[in-house]
């Protein structure tokens, strides 16, 4: 038990002491909707996937940080602004928002809640019929390590257009 804790601690320290460029990055591709991003496989490992094939959850070994990637049909006909308000109320109540830009087909919501940092980017595709999203939460105390990772994940994030012609029906 002590040995395993020591191994986890050493791996966390070694990972957190490395710059994002030196981490091992893996490609994530959603086969149903086609969205794509890169994530540091040395930090996050796949934890759970939904039966519907529309979401995947990644966590760190100590479960202190999580990365959620997914896409779904915009059945509520949200706009980037209305969807940002929706997730702010439903998913992040009490969030202290410090960054929330909104574009024509995208939005970002970032802030803190307690000792947790939240960052979520949303991109609309298929003419607004599909919402693609990735969200990452991590301890504020480790922002120096995770903030650069968020930048790389965001730069690699692209929405899927695979299912635009078939209304995102599952294969």
């Amino acid at each position: 038990m002590i040995l395993s804790l020591a191994v986890v601690a050493c791996s966390a320290v070694s990972a957190s002491s490395r710059p994002p460029e030196s981490l091992d990055w893996a490609e994530f591709h959603n086969s149903r909707f086609g969205l794509h991003l890169q994530y540091p496989s040395a930090v996050f490992s796949a934890q759970r996937s939904s039966e519907a094939g529309d979401g995947d959850l990644f966590t760190t070994s100590d479960n202190s940080a999580k990365l959620l990637v997914g896409a779904f049909e915009n059945s509520e006909h949200h706009s980037p602004a209305t969807y940002q308000r929706f997730i702010l109320q439903e998913s992040y109540p009490g969030l202290r928002v410090d960054y929330s830009p909104i574009g024509q087909t995208w939005s970002v919501l970032s802030g803190t809640r307690g000792d947790t940092m939240v960052y979520e980017k949303v991109m609309f595709s298929c003419g607004g019929r599909v919402i693609n999203s990735f969200a990452i939460v991590y301890p504020i105390a480790e922002r120096a390590f995770y903030d650069p990772i968020v930048e790389v994940v965001e730069d690699s994030f692209s929405p899927g257009i695979k299912s635009c012609g078939q209304h995102a029906s599952r294969d």
Partner: protein, 113 residues
């Protein structure tokens, strides 16, 4: 000439004399039983061997707690969980099963399980 009020005794015949004796004996026996209060006879007392000598039992001391022998249950019943204990099984099952969709995963994003 005998008068109407005189009792004339006739000698009974031999067969009748035997019956009269039997009736008389039965009447005598009944009288004896009645005098004795219905008890036909005295109870029979039989002398038997004395009981075996039993070991002396310990006497209970004043204010001393009663000695208790250890009880060992040979066929204990299965232990049942009290209904008041918290049940974590539903949460464990929810964490083990595959989430249905993205929205369910989203609810796990900020959970601390």
């Amino acid at each position: 000439m005998p008068r109407g009020t005189d009792i004339v005794w006739h000698r009974a015949r031999a067969g009748h004399r035997f019956g009269q004796w039997m009736i008389a004996l039965l009447a005598l026996g009944g009288a004896i039983v009645f005098i004795n209060g219905g008890m036909p006879s005295e109870p029979v007392i039989v002398q038997v061997a004395p009981p075996a000598v039993r070991p002396a039992l310990p006497t209970k001391k004043a204010n001393a707690p009663a000695a208790m022998d250890a009880v060992r249950i040979l066929n204990p019943s299965p232990v049942q969980e009290p209904a008041s204990l918290p049940d974590f099984r539903p949460r464990a099952r929810a964490a083990d099963r595959t989430p249905t969709d993205y929205q369910e995963l989203r609810r796990e994003l900020l959970s601390h399980d």
